[in-house]
Symmetry: C2
Subunit: 206 residues, 2 copies
């Protein structure tokens, strides 16, 4: 990797890594996925990136800052995946919701520790970046639900509340699955049930 380092330190590695921040985040995500949050060490990340143990500090003031960045990226990716799944699944509103919920659960199963991080209780609440990334996810969900208004599934004034409710439900099911309270297939069935009952309930109540 010494493309141009005609005069690096001891090794031929250039002084500046180039994109250390992104590499650290990627590696951290892998560690999180494979060995859990307790195994996530700044020093180990630095070692594997081939930089000194102090280098990460230029990009993340704290271990916590690294975790926040991971959570933020998590929200962005989750929103992307949900949008993707929805766009790939045209059809009636129920089908769309199922696709969204299913994508959410898939993400949870693939990245359980990351999801934990995303909804972790912080002493002083979430950082600004995490909060706004979470809000963007919520906006995505709201957009999906909004289609139901046009389809006559619910009133425009209720979309916010109902989006929150359905999101919470899917998040709760995901928590049951990732904490191994129920197996994944049962979680998937539960998502379907949830959406069926949700839609029936909403239309019955109003």
């Amino acid at each position: 990797m010494s493309t141009f380092g005609y005069r690096g330190p001891v090794s031929d590695r250039p002084f500046h890594h180039g994109n250390l921040r992104a590499v650290l985040l990627d590696q951290a995500e892998t560690v999180l996925r494979e060995r859990g949050i307790d195994a996530l060490s700044l020093r180990e990340l630095a070692r594997e990136a081939g930089v000194s143990h102090g280098a990460p500090r230029s990009h993340f003031i704290d271990r916590n800052a690294l975790l926040d960045a991971l959570a933020e990226r998590g929200f962005v990716r989750l929103a992307d995946e949900i949008r993707d799944a929805v766009s790939r699944a045209p059809g009636d509103h129920a089908r769309v919701l199922r696709a969204a919920g299913s994508a959410y659960l898939r993400f949870a199963v693939r990245e359980p520790a990351l999801l934990d991080l995303m909804f972790a209780t912080k002493v002083d609440g979430p950082s600004g970046a995490v909060r706004s990334a979470a809000e963007r996810l919520f906006d995505t969900m709201t957009g999906i639900m909004g289609v139901g208004v046009e389809a006559g599934a619910y009133d425009a004034g209720d979309v916010g509340r109902l989006t929150l409710l359905l999101s919470a439900t899917v998040q709760g099911i995901s928590a049951l699955v990732t904490s191994r309270r129920i197996p994944t297939p049962q979680g998937e069935a539960l998502v379907d049930d949830a959406i069926t009952i949700f839609l029936a309930g909403v239309s019955a109540v109003r």
Copy 2:
């Protein structure tokens, strides 16, 4: 290490603490509540209990074992509180469910870090003790829901699934509140909405 001769330690503190395990758990719970999980240190707990830093090892082989014990106690207490709230709130089935959901959310707000712990993703799944404590909570919920069967709210064969669904929903709402995505009062309103829609949906679907 007979630096202090044949007598006990310098202080008049007896060699055996007496109920160190319980004291450690209580203190740990307080730390968890007030300063979060990152501030939870075995050595600090030992210091404040007035024992050596190795003493906790007699009761908890690991920091993880301590956390498991906390999670287990958390499930037991949550189940107790829900039973309590339900017993104190007679009335129709909807009211009972609201009392249960409300108690769940109150617990979550009071002990957010503990709830995180209870549903944390562990690399190798929950320990046996945690798992069975969680199952006892689920049994409690099932019992509450079972009353609805007699009241004709749902079929006996659906109780398991529906209990899971409602539990997940309340857990998800709690996660939204403890992660500061929504304020507590909104969470409370959401629990009410959830139960209303749930009951309406269930009776509409079957």
